[in-house]
C-alpha cells in the first residue's frame, strides 16, 4: 500500500474518486466544497479525463445523467443549496436507473444559510429530496480516511444497484486536513461496460433509458422493481460503527462530524463513571434500524445528537419502537457542539434517570 499523505477532505474525496476509475466530473462552485471541483479541474485533464464547469447545478446533474447513459463513471460535488437544485435530476436518474456519485458537503441552512458545517440535509438525503418513490444510498464519513474508503467503493455500489449514491459530508470533513492512505488505481481500461448503456444501436435493437411510462400499470412495475433493489440494498449495505457499546448503560447515536465529537464525550463520561457508548450509522440510507433496536433493549436511554434541530432522531425513534426513551440534542445553523457541552447534557439526563 501507499504511504500516508496529509490532505484536505475535499481533495481526499477527489483523489479517491479518480483512483476508483472516475474520469468525468462536472461541477459548479459553492462553498465549502469548491476545492474538490478545483482539484478535479487540475487533475482530470492530466489523466485523460473530462472536467467541465457547468452553468448551474441543474445542468450539472443532467450532465451526469448523460455520462451515466453512455456508461462511464461520473461524479459531482456540491453543498446544500446546490444539492437542492440537483434533486430533480436525481429523481430522474433513480427512475432511469442511472448510477452516479454525488457529494454533498453540508453547510448551514435553510435558504442561503451560512458556510459552516451542518447536518440539516439529512431528510433531503435519506427521505427522497426529489419527487416520487425512490431512495439514494447515503454514505456518511466521519474521518478523511473513511471519506476516501467510502468514495472508493461508492462507484461499485452505484453500479451494483444502478442508482445514485451520495457521500454526505459536512463542512468539517470537507475542510480539515488529516493523514490518509489512498487505495490503488483502478485500471479504467478494464472496467466492464454495462450491457444497458446507450452506445449506438449497431447490430442490435435500440435501447431506451427513460424515467417515463404513460401507462400506470407499467410505471407501477418499474417502481416495484426499484423497491426490490432497495430491499436488497437494505439487506446488504447497512454499515455502522459500534463504539464502546458492550457495557453501555446509555447510548449516543450520531453520524459524521458529530459522531467524531461524541467519541471524545464517551471517553470523558466514562472517566466520570457514566458508561455510555456510541452507535455511528455509516449508511444513513439504508439506516441500521435493527442494530439500534437491539441496543435499545439494553440501555437507559438513547441520546441522538446532530448538527441540526433533529432529523436523524426520527429514524432512531423508528428503530427503537418505544423500547427506551429517545432524547435529542442538537445545534443547527453551522454551530458545532463542543464535547463539554454535550457531556453536560448527558449528565443532566443521567441524573434524571438515576433519581
Amino acid at each position: 500500500m501507499s504511504e500516508k499523505l496529509m490532505v484536505k477532505g475535499t481533495e481526499a474525496i477527489g483523489e479517491s474518486a479518480i483512483r476508483a476509475g472516475c474520469r468525468h466530473y462536472f461541477g459548479y462552485p459553492i462553498t465549502p466544497q469548491s476545492e474538490l471541483t478545483e482539484y478535479m479541474a487540475r487533475r482530470l485533464p492530466k489523466i485523460g479525463g473530462v472536467f467541465l464547469q457547468a452553468e448551474s447545478e441543474v445542468a450539472v446533474v443532467n450532465m451526469l445523467y448523460g455520462v451515466s447513459c453512455v456508461g462511464k463513471r461520473v461524479m459531482t460535488s456540491t453543498s446544500s443549496p446546490g444539492f437542492s437544485l440537483m434533486q430533480e435530476g436525481i429523481s430522474y436518474m433513480a427512475c432511469a436507473e442511472l448510477p452516479a456519485v454525488f457529494v454533498n458537503v453540508m453547510r448551514g441552512g435553510p435558504g442561503l444559510g451560512d458556510i459552516q458545517p451542518a447536518q440539516g440535509d439529512y431528510f433531503q438525503a435519506t427521505k427522497g429530496g426529489g419527487h416520487g418513490d425512490y431512495r439514494m444510498i447515503v454514505l456518511a464519513p466521519s474521518t478523511l480516511q473513511e471519506a476516501v474508503d467510502l468514495t472508493y467503493i461508492s462507484f461499485d455500489i452505484a453500479e451494483k444497484y444502478r442508482n445514485p449514491v451520495l457521500i454526505l459530508a459536512d463542512g468539517m470533513i470537507g475542510q480539515m486536513m488529516e493523514p490518509v492512505e489512498f487505495p490503488e488505481f483502478v485500471d479504467v481500461e478494464k472496467l466492464k461496460e454495462p450491457d444497458w448503456i446507450l452506445n449506438g444501436a449497431d447490430g442490435r435493437d435500440p435501447r431506451r433509458i427513460t424515467s417515463f411510462d404513460i401507462d400506470p400499470h407499467n410505471l407501477e412495475k418499474i417502481i416495484l422493481h426499484l423497491m426490490e433493489k432497495y430491499r436488497k440494498a437494505e439487506e446488504n449495505e447497512k454499515r455502522w460503527e459500534d463504539f464502546m457499546v458492550d457495557d453501555a448503560e446509555y447510548l449516543f447515536v450520531a453520524y459524521g462530524t458529530m459522531a467524531r465529537i461524541l467519541k471524545t464525550v464517551v471517553k470523558l463520561a466514562r472517566k466520570e463513571g457514566i458508561k455510555v457508548g456510541l452507535i455511528r450509522p455509516i449508511t444513513l440510507w439504508p439506516f441500521p434500524y435493527e442494530r439500534i433496536e437491539e441496543m435499545a433493549e439494553r440501555v437507559g436511554f438513547i441520546l441522538a445528537v446532530e448538527m441540526s434541530t433533529g432529523q436523524m432522531v426520527e429514524d432512531v425513534r423508528l428503530a427503537v419502537k418505544g423500547k427506551t426513551e429517545v432524547l435529542f440534542y442538537g445545534r443547527p445553523g453551522g454551530v458545532i457542539p463542543s464535547p463539554f457541552e454535550v457531556l453536560e447534557v448527558l449528565k443532566k439526563y443521567v441524573k434524571k434517570v438515576r433519581v
Binding site: 445542468a59 445523467y65 448523460g66 455520462v67 444501436a201
Partner: protein, 254 residues
Amino acid sequence: MKNAEKLKAVVFLKRPESLTDKEFTYCPGCHHGIVHRLVAEVIDELKIRERTILVAPVGCSVFAYEFFNVDGTVAPHGRAPAVATGMKRARPDLVVFTYQGDGDLAAIGTSEIIHAANRGERITVIFINNAVYGMTGGQMAPTTLIGMKTTTSPYGRDEKRDGYPIHIPEMLKEFKGVAFLARTTVSDPVEVIRTKNAIKKAFLAQINDLGLGLVEVLSACPTGWGMDPVEATRWVKEVFSKEYKTGVFVDKVK
C-alpha cells in the same frame, strides 16, 4: 401493368431505416411527423444511425424515442442540452441530437441551450416552435404571438403582462460556439426540402467538429390552435413566419 408497378416503386417512399415501425401518435396535421421523417432521412443518408443517440424532451415529442430507430433517452424538461453535453463529452465518437419543443427549449430550458451553444457543444438541436405548449393542452409559450389566444392567455397574449415572442436563433447567432443555425418551416414542399438540408447541416456541424447546430422548425399545432390541418399549415406560412423570419443565420458548414 408493369409500368404501373414501376411507377408505384418511384412514387412511394421507403420508410427510413432510422424510424421504427411504430405509427406516429401525433394529432392529425401536426408537423412533428414530417420533421421526424426528415431527421431520420438525414441520419440514414449520413450513415450514422448505428452511432446516433437521441435525447427526447418533455412535451408532445416525449415519445420520440419510440419512433426513432436509434438509442435514446428522455431528459427532464428543458435539460436535453445538458444531458447531450454529458454524453458527447464522455463519448465524442457518438452523434448526439436533442429534439425539443418551444416550452422545453425557449422557456424552462433557456439556460441549458444558451450555455451549450456558447460552449460550442458538438451536438445537434432540432427545435420545434409551434407557439404553444401542446402536450399540456395549448397554453401560452414564450413563442406565442402577441394577441394570440391560448388557454392561459384567453384574451390574447398581452406584451405588457407576458412579454414578447422570443426569437432563439436571433439570440444565439452571436455565439461563436454555434456552427449552424437556421429557421425553416415544413408548410410546403420547397420548405420541406430546405428544412431537410438545414437538418443535414446541423448534423454536419457536429460530425465535422465545428460546433453546435440548431434548426428551428416553425410547426403547426392544429389541436392547440383550434384550426384544421390545412388552415394551420397556411397560418404557419401567412402569419407565424411573419413574426419568425425563416433563413440561415449561421453556416460554418458550407
